[in-house]
């Protein structure tokens, strides 16, 4: 049993069958990549996992509990954090404040009317946020407005925010899309470090084969809404079906 079990998931948008019979099992503490050509249904699948979409058929179990029908914030509180294709951060807030918000969410839950105590008096939260900023090498930027940072830094911050919630599963949606090569390599190193040092499972949707093959230890290939094959990276590389559906097409 994996930490995330997707069974027979199907999703239809009008006349388009976006997903059909998707079965996926993500093992605990692995880095599982989901690849596939454009329109294969990768993002739809991801949205079904985090509660943004509800699949028409099938089930999604996280750690033995169904996530279907729950709101995104509830699924997040179960231990699934998501990194978006374009970094989603609190642009109007400072970097430190950005980092404090997930710490509050971890400590106080989905809602807490904490209207009379000062933010600066929350020593435990401040300490945790500062610590995470240092780990992300962003301590010197703590008082910057988050919107003013470079894309690579925003991505780092977003990953840091997700990590400070101590999630059990981290979902990444094309984390290196639109990044320069240097930023891409930094992100790969960061993710590698995270998966080695932490007790965490990573599921990653990616286009860039360089990223996929440097990170993943399990790969699912999606084509036209169904999984084509699921295997180890070295086998995927040589698989003729995959070459035809995906690698061949792009080469």
């Amino acid at each position: 049993m994996g930490i995330l079990e997707v069974k027979d998931v199907g999703k239809r948008f009008g006349g388009l069958q976006a997903l059909s019979n998707v079965n996926l099992s993500v093992q605990e503490n692995s880095v599982h990549a989901i690849i596939g050509p454009n329109g294969a249904g990768k993002s739809t699948l991801l949205n079904c996992l985090v509660g943004k979409l509800i699949p028409d058929t099938g089930s999604v179990m996280f750690d033995g509990q169904s996530v279907l029908g729950r709101a995104p914030y509830e699924i997040n509180q179960m231990g699934i954090s998501r990194v978006f294709q374009t970094p989603e951060i609190f642009g109007d807030l400072t970097v430190l404040e950005n980092m404090m918000i997930p710490c509050f969410a971890k400590r106080d839950g989905a809602f807490e009317l904490n209207a009379l105590s000062a933010v600066l008096k929350q020593k435990d939260i401040l300490q945790k946020a500062e610590h995470m900023l240092e780990e992300m090498n962003m301590a010197d930027k703590r008082h910057m407005h988050a919107a003013a940072m470079s894309r690579g830094d925003k991505r780092r911050l977003e990953i840091g925010m997700c990590l400070s919630q101590e999630p059990r599963l981290l979902l990444l949606d094309e984390p290196t899309a639109g990044m320069a090569r240097a930023d891409t390599n930094n992100t790969i190193d960061l993710l590698k470090q995270i998966s080695e040092e932490r007790d965490i499972t990573i599921a990653i949707i990616e286009h860039d084969m360089h990223v996929v093959f440097s990170l993943a230890n399990r790969i699912t290939v999606l084509a036209q809404g169904t999984p084509l094959v699921e295997d180890d990276p070295q086998n995927i590389r040589g698989n003729p079906k995959v070459r035809e559906a995906y690698l061949g097409e792009s080469a």
Partner: protein, 401 residues
């Protein structure tokens, strides 16, 4: 001090000084001088300054922090006023129960309206709140006449029970609002040379409550809850995917700001015990939006400044008429005098809205941060000049943000 940092404490002290010394500050001109009509230091107007200050401070908690633009806040003000007048009719003329009830009723009403309206955001939210407020206004005007007394407005009468007070005073008139015997209308007049300063009990009660409300809003701004509200404004998507439920946060902000509006309404009725449906009309809701934006939405002190600014214009500019202009410009040759008066005429008296509108446009275009931003720019400019005068190779002085 009071759990605030240095900067916030100084803001609180500035507002406290302005509020408590208002009878002096607003009365700079001797009573007999030609400029005496620019004096605003009389009780009625000063009360309105601080009451609308409270209204705007509360509105800013919703609009300034979460970015949800409510166009129906006057409904809560009106509900607060009605509740307060009913307390005067049924219980007695002490203002405390009236104010307490008006805050509670407005809070409950805000909970109801907020629960429905906050299902949508952006323009749809604004329209929903506007619809609710207009609905309340029309109900108060017609169907709810037994409670609101319709067009006439709710007033005190000699037949009211007032179980903890008297229905009528010994000389057969309606009793006046008081705070444990201190009459709200009692005014102490201090004559200093040609000046006459008025100290009104009702004003000082309002001012003290306004300071408490301002202090509370600073605490909310600096609290984790306030930070969450700013996060809602910044990125709701990230909020949801960070395990935070935005609905209760926005609803709490909506109810809190509704309670502020109710408090303002209750105070308004405590100063002058009557309530009419026109307090709930959409123009009244629009006014508080103007106040907040003019002063600086999302800043602490902005709404107070905006409220004072607009109320000053409303009361002082609208009182200038052609005769006054003629006396001002009488030094000019006859033809010129008439021409100047003709040009200025549309901007004064009933035309004060035009002046206000132009000022509002100028502020929104050139100072998007409102009067507060204007103040900061002047401060930045002064400190740059100072740095130059100091003969230093003036490094870039950062403009205050």
């Amino acid at each position: 001090m009071f759990g605030l940092d240095k900067k916030d404490t100084s803001k609180l002290i500035i507002v406290a000084c302005l509020a408590l010394l208002a009878p002096f500050i607003l009365n700079p001109f001797p009573t007999d001088s030609a400029l005496a009509q620019f004096n605003a230091g009389y009780p009625d107007l000063m009360q309105r300054f601080v009451i609308f200050g409270i209204f705007a401070i509360g509105f800013n908690i919703l609009f300034g922090l979460t970015g949800y633009l409510s166009f129906g806040h006057a409904a809560f003000l009106g509900v607060g006023s009605y509740s307060a007048v009913w307390m005067f009719k049924l219980i007695g003329m002490n203002v405390i129960p009236a104010i307490v009830l008006s805050v509670i009723v407005a809070g409950l009403f805000a909970l109801l309206i907020g629960f429905v309206s906050l299902r949508r955001s952006g323009i749809y939210f604004s329209i929903l709140t506007l619809a609710f407020a207009q609905m309340s206004f029309n109900l108060a005007y017609s169907v709810l006449t037994p409670i609101t007394n319709g067009e006439t407005g709710l007033q005190l009468t000699l037949e009211d029970p007032r179980i903890l007070g008297v229905s009528a005073t010994a000389d057969g008139s309606i009793p006046v609002t008081n705070l444990f015997g201190l009459e709200m209308r009692s005014t102490f007049e201090m004559a200093v040379g040609p000046w006459a300063f008025q100290f009104n009990a009702g004003y000082y009660l309002c001012a003290l409550i306004m300071l408490a409300a301002f202090y509370l809003s600073i605490r909310i701004f600096r609290s984790p809850f306030g930070m969450m509200l700013r996060a809602v404004k910044s990125n709701q998507q990230r909020m949801n995917y960070t395990g935070l439920n935005t609905r209760p946060y926005t609803l709490a902000a909506f109810v809190i700001s509704g309670m502020y509006a109710g408090l303002a309404g209750g105070l308004m009725a405590s100063m002058d015990p009557l309530a009419g449906a026109e307090r709930m009309q959409w123009t009244a809701s629009g006014e508080v939006v103007l106040m907040t934006i003019l002063g600086g939405a999302g800043t602490l002190i902005g709404p107070v400044l905006g409220a004072g600014f607009i109320k000053y214009f409303e009361n002082i500019f609208s009182k200038i008429n052609d005769n006054v202009l003629h006396t001002w410009f009488s030094f000019l040759p006859d033809g010129m005098e008439d021409a100047v008066v003709f040009i200025i005429h549309p901007f004064i008296g009933k035309g004060w809205h035009l002046t206000l509108g132009i000022l509002f446009m100028l502020v929104v275009i050139f100072l998007p941060g409102g009067l507060v931003e204007g103040g900061q720019r002047i401060k930045g400019w002064l400190s740059r000049r100072k740095a130059k005068d100091g003969g230093k190779a003036a490094g870039e002085t950062n403009p205050a943000e």
